[in-house]
Symmetry: D2
Subunit: 166 residues, 4 copies
């Protein structure tokens, strides 16, 4: 089981939110993914691609298309997408419908990586294993579960992802 390279396509989301102490609000400045990879001591070859840094509530169709294009362009067969949770399922649907011959796992965080008690590192670890073990397809990895792209939604009241009937 020689590890294949993994491409990580960064889109922002809560995972990468950062506290701007001058503005007094959460914004984006850069991605924490390289820091996470170092901290996790991963020994799998990884390419990090900064696609965008955006709150997924503000994603337009062009934003989602840009993620899909990045997936198509990627030479790697294993892709992780870090994404805001609010519209993660929508982006998964767009990419899933494209039926690429790649394993693509979307993940994110309910609490920013830089806040104590963040779930970001756990979710990223789960996605990192999942992308290496799943067959080609598009998946969401959140709450310790793996969901198919066409059977998942975020329950915004509870703040958890859940399975839906196709």
């Amino acid at each position: 089981m020689n590890p294949e390279a993994i491409r990580i396509i960064v889109t922002g989301g809560t995972f990468d939110k950062h506290y701007d102490e001058i503005k007094g609000e959460l914004t984006f400045t850069e991605t924490h993914v390289p820091e996470v990879l170092k901290r996790a001591r991963v020994s799998v070859p990884v390419q990090v691609e900064l696609n965008q840094l955006i709150d997924s509530l503000y994603m337009q169709e062009a934003n989602r298309q840009s993620v899909l294009d990045a997936c198509k362009r990627a030479p790697e067969r294993h892709i992780i997408i870090t994404h805001g949770t609010d519209t993660m399922a929508e982006t998964a649907k767009l990419i899933g419908s494209a039926r690429l011959d790649k394993t693509i796992v979307l993940t994110g965080a309910m609490i920013p990586y830089k806040i104590l008690d963040s779930d970001a590192l756990f979710n990223f670890g789960a996605a990192f294993a999942a992308v290496q073990l799943l067959p080609a397809g598009v998946y969401i990895s959140m709450n310790g579960r793996i969901f198919d792209w066409n059977r998942v939604r975020k329950n915004k009241t509870l703040g958890v992802f859940e399975e839906i009937q196709e």
Copy 2:
């Protein structure tokens, strides 16, 4: 893909080491696994079993046998074992040789969960996804990789796990 229950067998290791401010050294008091599960917001049914809290350098054959017995006894088919890294491969060999019809993933940490920059949460997340996706067998999940029990060792100079020829 309805999630099956996962049993988590805790044995201690660096993952659970805690700073004792009176003694001024790292010791064990309790496991951080329940806190990790809450933080990760997992929605998969989980049973946490405290088997032992020990530095794996001090594990005797009886300690390893106790872990194997816990695996045999477990009604769940998916088992995660948190374990010290120094002899994780030895315990994996003992359990692997038993050829149980279960998926068993050992994981741990190079830096304790309670220290900033710990890899514990990433490793646990990776093991959590891996145990749900792998066929029956015994594996080590460290450094973002999945290793078969009979082809893995810890490189103690570099502090990473690596594959060996069987």
Copy 3:
């Protein structure tokens, strides 16, 4: 130097901001001051009084008056006020003008206590020592400095407090 009791009047501010993962924004739920006191292992008698939990940008005159009233009412001669930084100097002016015979130190944080790299704990420690050592009067303790209430402003561009001529 037997330690006199200190009253801590909590008003919220960035210090106590908390990430609400359902709303996806920073809000208030409770104060972190009791947790901070435990973590700091203080052996000085302390009374924590929750006056309000508010972003100081939204403080009205009634809010500031409520803080002044709490200072007047307090039986202790040593008072720390945790406060948002944006209008900390205004509240200091109101209380300073009242010329109470007490030592009152306002402090806060540029980055919430629950975010990695927060300055909250340092600022609180500095205020804790300052309130025990200063003569009666009203002060702001931020950026490792002690400012008189009538000679301080927040430089909102740089995010630091600075001295002004009276």
Copy 4:
């Protein structure tokens, strides 16, 4: 109150202990004081002097003498010494007996800075304010209190500093 420069003499202690993931133990590699100063956003001029990085249990007379020499040599009148807690009171006695015309505050931590729930940042903040407010003399700032050098000991059973009769 224009801020005078502060010299920070680093000697190590629990404050600066670091987890060595290869050896699996707490050791010293460098001091965290510059990181702490940045995080605290101090606007007081500061000189950091690395005197030694040692567990204070292993300090010999020469180690303590070296700290005293650094205090004598320092052009600043305000000095903070970061020090292990176990023999902090002994070093304070040596320096206190020298009757230098400077304000010198020793502080440290019960839990290393890099461990969650560390008291290091609070203690350092308290020392930072105290050194600017106290008259010439030698003091220990721990547990939110300020102790005179000749009336303090560490209660090793409880892990707190306490006043003794001279």
